[in-house]
C-alpha cells in the first residue's frame, strides 16, 4: 500500500490530460509542502558545521574547520565524538534498550496475536480494547506511576526498569502488526504440513514462522523505533542516570542557543534510528508506507472496513 501504489497504473496511464490530471494550483501547493518539510533540516545540518553563528548573521561567520584549533575545548562534531559529550554511552543505551524492547515485545505479542487472529472467543473485543489502551492513556500518568512502582521494586535507574517501561508504548503496535500478519496468513500451508504428518512444533517452526518472519521483523522494527524515540518514560525511570539519545537532546535543547552547533549535530544523530527504520522497512516489506501501521493500534476501536 503505497501513496497510490495501487493506483500507480491508473496514474501512469492518465499522466497529462487524462482522467486524473492534477491541477496546476495543486502542484504548486505540493511543492510548497515539499519546501516546508524539507527545508527545516537544512539550517540544522549547516549549523552542525558552524563555529560561530550568532545574531544577526544569516549564514555562519566562521566554520568549524577553520576555527577549531583556536578553542581549548572540543567543539561541534569534535565535541560530540569526544568522550566529553558521552554520546557513545547514550547511543549504546538507546540501541541496547531498543533491541531488548523489540525482542521482548515481539516474543510477548507473537502468541497473543496468533490467538487473536485465529480464534473467536468471548471477551476478544475486550482484550483488543485493553491492548490498545496504552496508546490512548496519557504517558505522563503511566510514567510517573511506573516510577513510583519501580521505586518499590528497586527498578529505578536500571536498564531493566527502562526496558520494562518501554514495553507499554510498544506492545500495542507489535500486537496489531502481528495480528494483521496472522490474519493474512494462509492456513492452507499449515494444514498441508499437518496432513503430511508434521508435529505441532515442527509446523510452527518450519511452516508458520518463515511465513510470518517479515511481519515479525516489521513489528520488531516498530518497537525499536518507538523505544528509540521515547523521552518521558526514559527520563522518569532512569532518574537521569541512563542517558539515551532523546534525553540527551532534551537537555541540549533546554540550554542551547538556536542554531547551536552541538545541538544541531545531535539532531542529525538522533534522527539516525528513524532513517535506518525507513531504509530497513523498505527493504524488508517492500511496502513503502508500512509506516501507516502507526495508526494500527486504534483501528479496532474505530472499526471501519480495511
Amino acid at each position: 500500500m503505497g501513496a497510490g501504489e495501487g493506483t500507480i497504473v491508473i496514474g501512469a496511464r492518465s499522466r497529462g490530460r487524462g482522467l486524473y490530471s492534477t491541477s496546476r494550483g495543486v502542484r504548486v501547493a505540493l511543492w510548497i509542502v515539499f519546501a516546508l518539510f524539507s527545508f527545516p533540516f537544512v539550517p540544522l545540518v549547516v549549523a552542525s558545521f558552524a563555529f560561530r553563528w550568532h545574531w544577526p548573521a544569516v549564514v555562519p561567520t566562521e566554520w568549524l574547520w577553520t576555527a577549531r584549533d583556536a578553542s581549548t575545548v572540543p567543539v561541534g562534531w569534535a565535541y560530540l565524538f569526544s568522550r566529553v559529550s558521552r554520546l557513545g554511552p547514550a547511543f549504546a543505551n538507546t540501541t541496547l534498550i531498543g533491541v531488548a524492547v523489540a525482542s521482548l515485545a515481539v516474543a510477548l505479542a507473537l502468541p497473543a496475536a496468533r490467538v487473536i487472529a485465529r480464534y473467536d472467543f468471548r471477551g476478544k473485543s475486550f482484550f483488543e480494547f485493553v491492548f490498545l489502551m496504552p496508546v490512548i492513556v496519557p504517558q505522563i500518568s503511566i510514567g510517573i506511576g511506573t516510577l513510583l512502582l519501580f521505586l518499590r521494586l528497586g527498578l529505578v535507574r536500571t536498564h531493566v526498569g527502562v526496558i520494562l517501561a518501554h514495553l507499554v508504548p510498544t506492545l500495542p503496535y507489535a500486537l496489531r502488526i502481528m495480528t494483521a500478519v496472522f490474519q493474512n496468513l494462509d492456513h492452507g500451508y499449515e494444514e498441508v504440513a499437518q496432513t503430511l504428518g508434521a508435529g505441532r512444533m515442527q509446523r510452527f517452526v518450519r511452516v508458520v514462522l518463515p511465513l510470518v518472519l517479515p511481519g515479525v521483523a516489521t513489528a520488531g522494527l516498530f518497537a525499536f523505533l518507538i523505544s528509540s524515540n521515547v523521552f518521558l518514560l526514559t527520563f522518569l525511570v532512569s532518574g537521569g542516570r541512563i542517558p539515551t539519545l532523546p534525553t540527551m537532546l532534551f537537555s541540549h535543547i533546554e540550554s542551547g542557543a538556536p542554531l547551536d552547533a552541538t545541538t544541531a549535530g545531535l539532531v542529525v544523530i538522533v534522527s539516525l534510528p528513524g532513517i535506518a527504520f525507513l531504509l530497513l522497512t523498505d527493504r524488508l516489506t517492500g511496502q513503502r508506507l508500512s509506516l501507516a501501521s502507526l495508526g494500527a493500534p486504534v483501528q479496532p476501536a474505530v472499526g471501519g472496513r480495511r
Binding site: R52, W55, V84, A257, P258
Partner: protein, 458 residues
C-alpha cells in the same frame, strides 16, 4: 560547588533518597573509620595513603555537569592525571544538591564510613553548610595533602580568608579550595558600548526602562539568578552598609531585620518586571521570561534577544570567544559600587566515602600548581592556590598564562571583590523570589518573608 541544573525538570534528589538500592561495595566500617582517624591525626605516611588508594582502585567524583568546559577538562586532562597514579576515576555529572541528598540519605539509612557511593564532590555555599551541619564530612583533611603547601590556610595570612570561610561557613579544612569565581556581567560591544553600559543597579533600571525587553536575569534558585539578586541587595541595602549585614548567621540577623534589608531590592525587582524580556513594557501586560539556567540566558544573549549576559568566572569571556560560543566583541563589565561577588569552590569528601584514600589522592593530584595552571590555561578557571607561595619562575608562568580579561582589569576586579551572602540566607532569598516575583503572590511582602524564614527552620 553550589551550581545546580534547576532547568532540568526533575529534582531527583528526593527520589534518589528513596531509591537507593544497596550498592554492594564490600566495606569494613571499622577499618574505614580507623583509617580516617589515623589520617586526620597525621599518623599515615602519604606513601601509605597512595598505596591504599591503589588498592581501593576507583574514585567516584561527583560534579555539577552544567559547564561543558569543565566537563572537557575533567575528561581530557584530569582523568589521565589521576589514572597516572594508578587509580581509576568515574566523573559523575549531577546536580550538587542531589549529591548532598544522596549522601545524607545514605548516612540516614545506615551506610556509614566506607559504604557510601560518593568519594569526592565539587561543592560550596549552602550545600557545604548542609553537609557540615549534618556531620557528613570526612574531616579536616586539607592541610594534610602534600599539595596543601601551595594554599593559604593560616588565619594570620590575609590571603587565607577566602579559603577559610565558604559563604560565611567556616571550612575548617574540611574542603580543599579548588577554583575561585567572580561574578561579572557581559555585553556585546557591537550592541552596547561597554563604556556607556550601566555601572550601578540604579543605572541599570534606567537603562532597562529606556530599552524595554532587552534585559532579563536567570531565575533563582539557579546560582546565577541568586547571585544577581544578592548583588542587588547589597546596593539597595537601606542602611547603605552594602554586604556587611548579609554575612552573619541568620539567627543573629532575625526575620524582621532580614525583611527590612531585602525589601527595597525586591521592590526594585517588581518595578523592572514589565521592562524585562517578554514583559509588556508600560502596558504591564505579558509575562517576563526568566531563563532557568546560565546556559539558557547565554543562549538568548548570543541570539540577540537580550543585551546582557552574566556568569561567574572572569576568564569565561575569553574562553567562550575562543570556543565560538560568544561573538568576538563580548566584554566583561562590573558594577563598582555594589561590588562584584567573589567566591571559592572546593572539593570535599563525604564521611561515608567508599574509597577515602583514593579521594585524598585524587584531590591532591588536582591541587598541584601544574593542575591549577592547566585549568587556568585550558578553561579559564582562576587558580585557588596562593601565587605568593610559588617560586618566582612558576609565578611568572601563571601570570603569563592568565587569559585576556576582555574589558576589565585585574586591579578593578580585585578592588571590587565582595563576599557572598551567608549560606543560610541563600534559600530564604530564593524562596521569597519564587513567591513574590515568580508567582506574583498577592500576600504582603512581610508575610512571604516570614513564611520563607519559618519553612527553612531559621
Amino acid at each position: 560547588m553550589r551550581r545546580r541544573v534547576t532547568g532540568r525538570a526533575i529534582a531527583f534528589g528526593a527520589l534518589v533518597a528513596i531509591a537507593i538500592v544497596g550498592c554492594d561495595r564490600a566495606a569494613d566500617p571499622d577499618a574505614a573509620s580507623a583509617f580516617r582517624d589515623r589520617f586526620l591525626a597525621g599518623e599515615v605516611e602519604w606513601d601509605a595513603v597512595v598505596e591504599q588508594a591503589r588498592s581501593e582502585g576507583r574514585v567516584e567524583f561527583y560534579h555539577w555537569g552544567g559547564s561543558e568546559a569543565l566537563n572537557s577538562w575533567l575528561e581530557l586532562i584530569a582523568r589521565p592525571a589521576i589514572e597516572a597514579i594508578g587509580i581509576g576515576v568515574d566523573f559523575r555529572r549531577s546536580d550538587t544538591r542531589d549529591v548532598v541528598d544522596l549522601i545524607l540519605s545514605e548516612i540516614a539509612s545506615g551506610r556509614g564510613p566506607g559504604s557510601g557511593s560518593v568519594d569526592v564532590v565539587w561543592i560550596n555555599g549552602e550545600n557545604f553548610r548542609t553537609l557540615r551541619m549534618n556531620d557528613a564530612l570526612f574531616g579536616a583533611f586539607a592541610d594534610r595533602l602534600p599539595s596543601s603547601a601551595y594554599f593559604a590556610f593560616d588565619p594570620d595570612d590575609p590571603a587565607s580568608s577566602i579559603n577559610r570561610f565558604d559563604f560565611g561557613t567556616p571550612t575548617d579544612l574540611m574542603e580543599m579550595p579548588w577554583a575561585g569565581f567572580q561574578f561579572t556581567l557581559r555585553v556585546d560591544a557591537d550592541r552596547v558600548d561597554p563604556a556607556e553600559a550601566p555601572a550601578t543597579f540604579a543605572a541599570l533600571e534606567s537603562w532597562v526602562r529606556a530599552n524595554p525587553g532587552r534585559f532579563t536575569y536567570v531565575a533563582p534558585p539557579h546560582y546565577i539568578g541568586s547571585t544577581f539578586i544578592h548583588a542587588l541587595l547589597y546596593e539597595t541595602n537601606p542602611d547603605s552598609t552594602g554586604y556587611v549585614p548579609f554575612l552573619g548567621d541568620p539567627q543573629d540577623l532575625g526575620v524582621t531585620e532580614f525583611a527590612r534589608l531585602i525589601g527595597p531590592g525586591f521592590e526594585y525587582l517588581r518595578r523592572i518586571e514589565p521592562y524585562l524580556l517578554g514583559g509588556g513594557g508600560r502596558s504591564a501586560r505579558g509575562a517576563p521570561i526568566y531563563p532557568a539556567s546560565a546556559a539558557a540566558l547565554q543562549a538568548r544573549f548570543v541570539a540577540g534577544e537580550v543585551d546582557f549576559d552574566m556568569e561567574f568566572g572572569v576568564y569565561d569571556v575569553d574562553r567562550d570567544i575562543r570556543s565560538g560560543r560568544y561573538p568576538p566583541t563580548v566584554r566583561n563589565i562590573i558594577f563598582p559600587e555594589s561590588g562584584m561577588i567573589k567566591d571559592m569552590s572546593y572539593l570535599a569528601i563525604p564521611r561515608n566515602a567508599p574509597a577515602p584514600a583514593a579521594a585524598l589522592v585524587a584531590i591532591d593530584a588536582l591541587s598541584t600548581p601544574e593542575s591549577h595552571l592547566s585549568k587556568l590555561v585550558e578553561i579559564g578557571f582562576a587558580p585557588a592556590i596562593d601565587l605568593a607561595r610559588l617560586d618566582p619562575e612558576e609565578r611568572a608562568r601563571f601570570l603569563a598564562a592568565a587569559p585576556d580579561l576582555r574589558g576589565v582589569t585585574e586591579e578593578a576586579l580585585a578592588m571590587r571583590a565582595v563576599p557572598s551572602v551567608n549560606a543560610g540566607l541563600v534559600d530564604a532569598i530564593d524562596a521569597v523570589w519564587l513567591e513574590y516575583i515568580a508567582e506574583q503572590s498577592a500576600r504582603s511582602f512581610d508575610e512571604i518573608v516570614l513564611d520563607a524564614w519559618r519553612n527553612l527552620g531559621l
